[in-house]
């Protein structure tokens, strides 16, 4: 099986789907000839022609709006928003339109649209290249929100997203595009090739939306994470020597509540990790759900380790980023609690 980076796996997912289904096409800023600023669409224009993989005007409203029209026609467009930070101009089309067209038309029209966007910090990108806006999508009925953490998952989830009949927000953790960065800046970042989840089949396969993945079984406490933070949480568990059960959510909406509840019922302790600002972040929803479902099992207050309620600062980003030491502190707190 070939070893792929997450970029290559995403590219392979698009390639697989474009070759299987003539209704799949992809566009976005710099997506065509150049292959995307992160190279996710590399060679697709060459292979499938400019009508199936092309550059878009710098207008995220238009990218989303046109894609909705295409999806309504019956195509399965995959659009790239160059950075999640630039999705705001598309937000109305995604929230007021894509998310609601099935409902408001009583399923007369549907929007099988996939919206790819790189998110997250740790790349010295400053406040407009580092944001994690997942909670702005999880609040919106009608949207699904997916975040992979490995090349294998990225391909399988992206294929599921493309085949899904509803609009899917597909957030890509750009910090782990090229290697499973785990937040330990004192150690060299491993390439994906050394990671088991970089083994990615060439062909078609799916990972179902709505199913979490227990990436580390453990008995002491449950850690809920997604995207880059899965790797950071694993590193924290390892460094802390705490027998944490680390769950990679993979899909935020619809959430795999069962896997979460089973784990917390077992451990009685829960740490939630994300990079987004804390207040009203997705961690708040997770915390609320865990206490609703596991109140009588909880032995300690649920801990949130998150980005702070500030814009993402350029030079201080390693203080902003939830690093293993911060997660370990929270694990210790939850163990003591």
């Amino acid at each position: 099986m070939p070893s792929m980076t997450m970029i290559q796996a995403l590219n392979s997912a698009l390639d697989t789907m474009m070759s299987r289904d003539p209704n799949v096409l992809t566009f976005g800023e710099d997506v065509g000839y150049f292959g995307g600023v992160f190279r996710v669409t590399e060679h697709l224009q060459e292979k499938y022609g400019a009508k199936r993989c092309f550059d878009a005007p710098i207008n995220e409203t238009g990218i989303a709006g046109a894609a909705i029209g295409m999806a309504v026609y019956g195509l399965r467009p995959v659009i790239e928003i160059q950075f999640a930070d630039y999705m705001y101009p598309a937000y109305d089309q995604l929230v007021s339109e894509a998310a609601r067209i099935r409902y408001r038309s009583a399923a007369d029209y549907t929007v099988p649209l996939t919206v790819r966007m790189p998110y997250g910090g740790g790349i010295y990108g400053g406040q407009t290249h580092s944001q994690s806006p997942e909670a702005l999508f999880t609040h919106v009925a009608g949207l699904k929100t997916v975040i992979p953490s490995t090349p294998y998952d990225a391909k399988g989830l992206l294929i599921s997203a493309i085949e899904d009949d509803d609009p899917v927000i597909f957030l890509e953790p750009k910090r782990v595009y090229n290697g499973p960065f785990d937040g330990r800046r004192d150690r060299p970042v491993q390439p994906w090739s050394k990671h088991a989840a970089s083994e990615v089949p060439d062909g078609y396969y799916k990972i179902p939306l709505g199913k979490a993945n227990i990436v580390r079984a453990g008995a002491d406490c449950t850690v809920l994470a997604y995207g880059t933070m899965v790797h950071v949480a694993l590193a924290a568990a390892e460094d802390a020597g705490i027998d944490a059960e680390v769950i990679d959510l993979r899909t935020l909406v619809p959430l795999d509540i069962e896997t979460i509840v089973q784990s917390v019922a077992k451990t009685g302790r829960c740490v939630i990790v994300h990079e987004a600002t804390r207040t009203s972040g997705f961690g708040a929803e997770l915390s609320a759900l865990v206490q609703e479902h596991c109140f009588y099992k909880l032995e300690a207050p649920i801990q949130r380790v998150t980005g702070f309620d500030t814009p993402y600062p350029h030079a201080l980003e390693w203080d902003y980023f939830p690093t293993p030491p911060r997660i370990i502190k929270a694990m210790r707190r939850v163990m003591e609690g």
Binding site: T61, P77, S96
Partner: protein, 412 residues
């Protein structure tokens, strides 16, 4: 603000010529003569067509004659069909407006005075061309023979509402009639229409798209998005700006109509503009034909400004007497689309006052019959029209656990 500097800057806020109490004043508009505007070839370049942004395509004069190169020379049956469809639309509006007043529903929006904009265009398009309307294009649905009663079911949110009670009245949707689900958010349909048109072109299909928005809505960013995408990829789409001169209480100067026309927006994108008398059925028909043929020939989009006047209130929530002269609609020099087409048919010897009265009564009767039937099914607020559980359906293709849980929580 008191001691102004020499050469101090000053802010300009546009104001209409007439407010309540004033005499209506349309003297600011120059209106070219009917028949005077040449008809370019459909493959004219956008550059050659710039001046059309500042003119006005007119066919019918006020005596009912069809003049000039844009006259579409339709068979009288078609004209009569157009007239009857406009009459039906008007009768429908009247009844539903009244139904709202009677508390049978929450809200209604007429297209009074603007019937030609939808009806003539829908007749000129192919029946399977795709329409992305605003909330004032009920005429398209009616032209396409969508059952009036189903529109009423929607307006009443009753048990037979095709939208299952989920949508505000007039937010129709009918895929089989090529009528896209109406949105409450202004102008969002414009880039969607462009995307649909591109998908059609992508697929080697023959169907084109058409979209409508108000002149006020052209200010929205989505209009710019749609125009940009339409221009760049030469989408086979008609973008109709219905300039009815008002956006709720704001006159068209607030949308940018003080310094130029709305058709002129097209010039900026290298899209051909056509500005048409929106109360002239034949002119609307003719410019639609032109633009549709252009689109079908892979020559790209056309922007059409329909110059008309919103003769009614914005919606049932609105009272125009608060912000414009009460008799402004009557003073509008381009008259009423129904009256003008009627006059044309009479001038042609293909219609009479008598026939008109009969047709009008027939329209009212058709609407009345549908209305009674619809009301039997139910009006807004009747308990049990929709199961509470239905609220949780169609959010997703399959209902996820959290919606099932919420449904159970509601005891539904």
């Amino acid at each position: 603000m008191s001691s102004r500097k020499p050469n101090a800057l000053e802010m300009h806020v546009p104001a209409p010529r007439a407010r309540p109490g004033d005499k209506p004043d349309f003297s600011g508009w120059s209106l070219p003569e009917p028949g005077a505007t040449p008809r370019p070839d459909v493959d004219a370049s956008a550059g050659e067509m710039r001046d059309y942004a500042y003119g006005l395509v007119r066919v019918l004069d006020m005596e009912g004659n069809a003049l000039g190169p844009w006259a579409p020379h339709l068979p009288p049956e078609n004209l009569r069909r157009g007239l009857k469809t406009m009459l039906l639309t008007r009768a429908f509006d009247e009844r539903m407006h009244r139904a709202q007043r009677q508390g049978k529903t929450s809200f209604y929006m007429q297209c009074f005075g603007e019937e030609a904009v939808s009806v003539a265009q829908a007749m000129a398009l192919h029946p399977d061309d795709m329409c992305f309307p605003s909330y004032r294009q009920q005429g398209v649905l009616i032209t396409r023979d969508y059952p009036l009663i189903d529109m009423m079911h929607q307006i009443y949110s009753n048990a037979k509402d095709p939208m299952k009670g989920r949508q505000l009245p007039v937010m129709y949707s009918s895929k089989k009639d090529g009528f896209f689900s109406v949105s409450g958010n202004l102008a969002t349909q414009v880039p969607q229409a462009v995307g649909w048109a591109l998908a059609s072109a992508y697929s080697g299909d023959v169907r084109i798209a058409s979209t409508w928005l108000g002149e006020g809505s052209t200010a929205e960013g989505d209009f710019h998005a749609g125009m940009t995408f339409a221009s760049v990829y030469r989408a086979p789409v008609l973008i109709n700006v219905v300039n009815n001169q008002w956006a709720i209480s704001s006159f068209q100067g607030i949308a940018g109509g003080e310094n130029t026309t709305f058709a002129a927006r097209a010039v900026g994108y290298g899209i051909p503009p056509l500005r048409v008398d929106g109360n002239d059925f034949l002119a609307v028909y003719a410019v639609t034909q032109w633009a549709a043929e252009r689109a079908r020939s892979n020559l790209g989009p056309t922007l059409i400004e329909h110059f008309t006047y919103r003769a009614g209130p914005h919606s049932t929530s609105d009272d125009p007497a608060r912000y414009r002269p009460a008799d402004e609609a009557r003073a509008w020099p381009l008259g009423d689309p129904v009256e003008r087409l009627k006059q044309h048919l009479i001038t042609l010897g293909e219609w009479s006052e008598e026939q008109h009265r009969t047709a009008q009564e027939a329209a009212v009767e058709t609407v009345r019959t549908a209305g009674r039937e619809a009301e039997k099914v139910g009006v807004l607020g009747v308990e049990g029209a929709h199961t509470r559980g239905s609220m949780f359906e169609d959010v997703y293709s399959e209902m996820p656990w959290h919606l099932k849980q919420q449904r159970d929580e509601l005891g539904a």
